[in-house]
């Protein structure tokens, strides 16, 4: 169906019409409305929708009001409402008529308000969905994430290792349920070709914890996490539809995941949402070797818990800290680690909250600026309508009556603006979603719905009331006597002062916004120019994940990776190739403890830890990571050869400030427990965690000496080579059942990392630009008006011999004076406001002198431009004509 949103609005408005009409014609009317929309957009695409919607809304409102006030339908008696709604209706009808009679004013005012309200509504709908709505689980406030923390190491939110989780779960009394989660990407076979799907490994009690009832079947039995406790799987609604055609006998059927057969035990309801999407849920099982002492440093589990009724967050936190302390006393890998609680929803949105509130703030500023502009327009009209008001007062209208009239009129104006704004928002939101980083939780669900629309209407009414009051403050002071002197020129000086003050405010507000945008953009550019320590172009990355069933032993895994890389290296199209377990900026990281042999200041008990990477020969060369000393890895560094390690510069500087680390020995914990290794090289620093994160202490070991079941291939090839096809072919020739994971150019990882920052910079810049345009229009309006009021004065001055340049200068001077006042105020405001931005800025002060000089200069230049047209008109005033009018 076309135009769903416009139809929705129209149908809502149809309810205003008399019932007799609505009952017999609403369908036809809606159809005609849509047909008009189609016809107009075919005939003249530009703004056609807008015109038709505004026209139809006017039609509905004015027709309804016109017919209802004139005594309703033929045959029915006019009923006088006891509460004076009749009068209100008449006011509304009168208001619509007068808006229609000054189409230019109405259009500009409605569009200005629509811009402000539409932007606010669009951003609000995102903020509402992402930040404000409760999670779709019963009693969501009881849900918490639990983290390991280590203040000394600056780790405020670390994932949890399996043995620590098991200990927590056994001892913690504050929680009714505790569950661990780990993301998986199993291969689904049995269809046309093996397919990587998204999965989640979770403790069997996860669905009881979230209180999610199954659509079909049941949840996991509690013993499902025993090693080899039966391969069970719970399907998402989507996979149940696509794989089992929504059949009810899916329970008990099987599914091949990673070459193992899983039995379907349950299907999740369609409205089940979890922050990370998963097609399948499997029980998280711990093999005995994963619960060993060495694994206490392997922190990779996310932990969710539900508070027991009557237990407070503080009590739970205290209990968890006590447990962590006692674990630290008995296990060296737990020493120094505390536990912390963060609400589940808070945890989801934590990193986006400041950015989203920043955007909301920016839109509200634009809304305020839009309102200031409309107030200005309204004031001009109040001045023009003075005579009419005086006549009405003379004919016996009360001041209250006129006030109510003005209130109704401006509320209607604002509500019209709000409706058009909601339309703008409904068009803007899909683009906003496309622009937004995909990691933003629940972003896909964002829609402009009734809740957002209601907020919009409320906001419009509030804006309308403010406008009405402001305009009445100048309007009702008119006395009947003024009619006689109706041709007086110029407004009262006080009112001119008010308008100038508003202009100064407007310029100041947009300046604050522009400075904020300038800082964000400069910070973004700086981030883009950071040297990440590796080459960010010409490399294709492809992830591979080996099923444990067929690649159970280390040598099996090592030889597959070696074979793939050697095959690729022989290809003429491939320049260099390598692989790593943790690609920079991909969000994947491992961290293990280490000690330095023969150094009492650096033993395993002291819990030093380093970012850990297992890489193949060729990895450093492919990624363009420079070798600072020693040698890179070779294929001879395999299981049977001496164990070796390469450290990064940061580590070399910190632990061997005055000597050469090459040849020294380290003991590094990893899959196989602590292993002593000889340092054979020092490698340049890489910004693994993000462009804004300083490099940490890192160790690299050969993948052949510590073969993990997953790795990411990095392939450097000349431009125009379809690397993914080559990799796929070589992988298939080795193991046809092995799917290739996500293939992404390295730029993709960088872009994905930059996406949220780009999002906030672009949006804030957009709002700042509209603020600038609105203030330029505002300045133009005020200066134009001043010029038109002083036509006679200018005429007299010109007749007395004033030079046109002087006239020009004095007009421009007035505008620039306003702009300068606004600029001073704005810079002061920005100095106060930008400190709140500092958390979002990278290597740039919130008081950056470049931004603080360039932006005010831009604003003054725009103000000059806005004054130019009225000034030219002033110079062209014909002295004779002007004098004749005095």
């Amino acid at each position: 169906m076309k135009y769903p949103f416009a139809r929705f609005v129209y149908r809502m408005l149809l309810r205003l019409t008399p019932r007799e009409l609505r009952e017999s014609y609403s369908e036809e009317m809606e159809r005609l409305f849509v047909e008009t929309l189609e016809m107009e957009s075919e005939r003249d695409g530009r703004f056609a929708h807008l015109r038709v919607v505004i026209g139809a809304v006017f039609d509905l409102l004015s027709w309804t009001l016109g017919n209802r006030t004139r005594g309703g339908w033929r045959g029915s008696k006019p009923v006088r409402s006891p509460l004076g709604f009749d009068g209100l209706r008449r006011d509304a009808f009168y208001a619509l008529r007068s808006l229609r009679h000054s189409p230019a004013f109405s259009a500009i005012a409605v569009l200005t308000l629509a811009l402000g309200l539409g932007g606010s509504v669009a951003i609000f709908s995102v903020v509402d969905h992402v930040l404000l709505r409760p999670l779709p689980f019963p009693e969501p406030s009881e849900l918490y994430t639990v983290w390991e923390t280590n203040v000394e190491r600056g780790r405020t939110k670390s994932l949890v290792s399996p043995p620590t989780f098991v200990d927590w779960k056994e001892s913690a009394e504050s929680f009714s349920q505790m569950s661990a989660l780990s993301v998986a990407a199993p291969t689904l076979s049995g269809g046309d070709s093996p397919e990587r799907i998204s999965g989640m490994m979770a403790s069997p009690n996860i669905f009881e914890l979230l209180s999610v009832p199954m659509l079909l079947g049941g949840s996991f039995p509690s013993e499902a996490d025993a090693p080899r406790g039966g391969n069970l799987v719970v399907l998402s609604f989507g996979l149940w539809q696509s794989r089992f055609g929504s059949r009810h006998d899916a329970i008990g059927q099987t599914l091949d995941l990673d070459d193992e057969t899983y039995t379907v035990v349950g299907v999740l309801p369609s409205d089940f949402q979890f922050p990370q999407h998963a097609d399948v849920w499997m029980p998280l099982t711990f093999q005995p070797d994963m619960l060993g002492e060495g694994m206490r440093g392997a922190r990779y589990l996310e932990v969710i818990a539900r508070l027991r009724q009557g237990v407070t967050e503080d009590q739970a936190k205290a209990e968890m800290s006590a447990i962590a302390r006692s674990l630290g006393e008995s296990h060296p890998n737990n020493a120094g680690w505390d536990a912390s609680l963060v609400g589940l929803r808070e945890n989801l949105v934590l990193e986006y909250r400041s950015a989203l509130f920043l955007l909301l703030f920016a839109t509200l500023m634009v809304l305020v600026i839009a309102c200031v502009n409309v107030v200005n327009l309204v004031l001009v009209r109040a001045m023009d309508g003075k005579q009419e008001k005086a006549v009405r007062l003379a004919l016996g209208a009360t001041g209250w009556r006129l006030f109510r009239q003005s209130l109704v009129q401006h509320t209607m104006l604002a509500v019209l603006g709000g409706l058009v704004g909601a339309l703008i928002a409904s068009w803007a939101v899909p683009s906003l979603i496309r622009l937004a980083p995909a990691e933003l939780p629940r972003i896909d669900d964002v829609v402009v719905d009734a809740r957002v629309l209601a907020t919009c209407v409320l906001a419009s009414v509030a804006v309308g009331c403010v406008l009405g009051v402001v305009s009445s403050l100048t309007g009702t002071r008119v006395t009947p006597g003024i009619v006689v002197r109706a041709n007086q020129i110029g407004g009262a000086p006080a009112r001119q002062r008010n308008r100038r003050a508003l202009m100064v405010l407007e310029v100041a507000l947009s300046l604050v916004l522009l400075i904020g945008a300038g800082l964000l953009i400069r910070s973004f550019v700086k981030l883009q120019n950071v040297d990440p320590g590796f080459s960010t172009s010409g490399i294709t990355t492809a992830s591979i994940s080996l099923p444990r069933s067929r690649y159970e032993t280390g040598p099996q895994r090592a030889s597959l990776f070696r074979d793939v890389i050697e095959r690729l290296a022989q290809r003429q199209q491939v320049s260099f190739v390598g692989a790593t377990t943790n690609l920079p900026l991909s969000g994947s990281a491992m961290s293990f403890g280490f000690s330095i042999d023969g150094r009492p200041d650096a033993t395993l008990n002291e819990q030093l830890s380093a970012e850990y990477h297992a890489v193949t020969p060729g990895y450093f060369r492919t990624m363009g990571i420079a070798l600072r000393a020693g040698r890179p890895f070779e294929w001879i560094d395999d299981r049977s050869a001496p164990q070796v390690v390469i450290v990064n510069e940061t580590m070399a500087r910190r632990y061997w400030p005055d000597e050469d680390p090459v040849g020294k020995r380290l003991t590094v914990v990893s899959q196989g427990g602590p292993t002593s290794r000889e340092i054979v090289g020092v490698i340049a620093d890489v910004r693994h965690g993000g462009l804004a994160t300083l490099p940490r202490v890192e160790v690299y070991v050969p993948l052949s000496q510590d073969p993990w079941s997953f790795a990411t291939l990095v392939v450097r090839a000349p431009e125009g080579i379809q690397v993914s096809d080559i990799v796929r072919a070589d992988l298939a020739s080795l193991d046809a059942a092995l799917p290739l994971g996500s293939v992404l150019p390295i730029e993709g990882h960088v872009a994905r990392w930059l996406a949220p920052l780009q999002f906030q910079s672009v949006i804030v810049a957009l709002f700042a630009a509209s603020a600038l345009v609105l203030s330029a229009l505002g300045i133009y309006g005020v200066i134009s008006y001043i010029v038109s009021l002083s036509t006679n004065e200018i005429g007299v001055r010109m007749a007395l011999g004033a030079h046109p340049m002087h006239v020009f200068g004095s007009v421009v001077g007035q505008g620039v004076g306003l702009a300068a006042g606004g600029t001073v105020l704005g810079v002061a405001g920005a100095l106060l406001a930008t400190r709140f931005l500092s958390g979002l800025l990278f290597e740039i002060s919130p008081f950056d002198p470049v931004v603080f000089t360039a932006v005010p200069a831009l604003v003054v230049a725009v103000a000059l431009l806005a004054c130019f047209l009225p000034a030219r008109r002033a110079v062209r005033v014909d002295p004779v004509a002007a004098l004749r009018e005095v």
């Binding site: 019409t17 036809e28 005609l32 047909e35 016809m39 026209g55 139809a56 509905l60 017919n67």
Partner: protein, 115 residues
């Protein structure tokens, strides 16, 4: 007679539009748009509001739409002019014609040729 002969402009245009055959809503809207050179656009509420009153007054009646091969007459409502409607239209045309004639005789709009 004088009281009721003056037709509202929208009513006049609607009657004129369906004078040579019944039309549905969009048809009337398009026809009026055309015969007024785009001067009068009948928005849904105005159109159907007027139609309802004109049906009540017996000037217009709802009719079966023409059924053609594969025509999309499903649930579309067509409107045709009644005899009373035709009479009112003729009266109005005569009244307007009289004014046009008088204006022509007085040569009110100098230099403009009035047919």
């Amino acid at each position: 007679m004088e009281k009721s002969t003056t037709l509202k402009p929208q009513w006049f245009q609607i009657l004129l539009a369906i004078a040579d055959g019944e039309l549905h809503g969009l048809g009337i809207m398009k026809e009026v748009l055309e015969q007024t050179d785009g001067q009068m656009r009948l928005w849904p509420a105005m159109l159907y509001g007027s139609l309802k009153k004109m049906v009540d007054d017996g000037l217009v009646e709802e009719r079966e739409g023409p059924v053609g091969p594969g025509s999309e007459t499903d649930r579309r409502r067509f409107y045709g002019i009644t005899e009373a409607g035709r009479q009112r239209l003729a009266d109005e045309v005569a009244r307007l014609a009289k004014y046009v004639r008088v204006a022509g005789e007085k040569d009110v709009v100098r230099g403009t040729v009035i047919p």
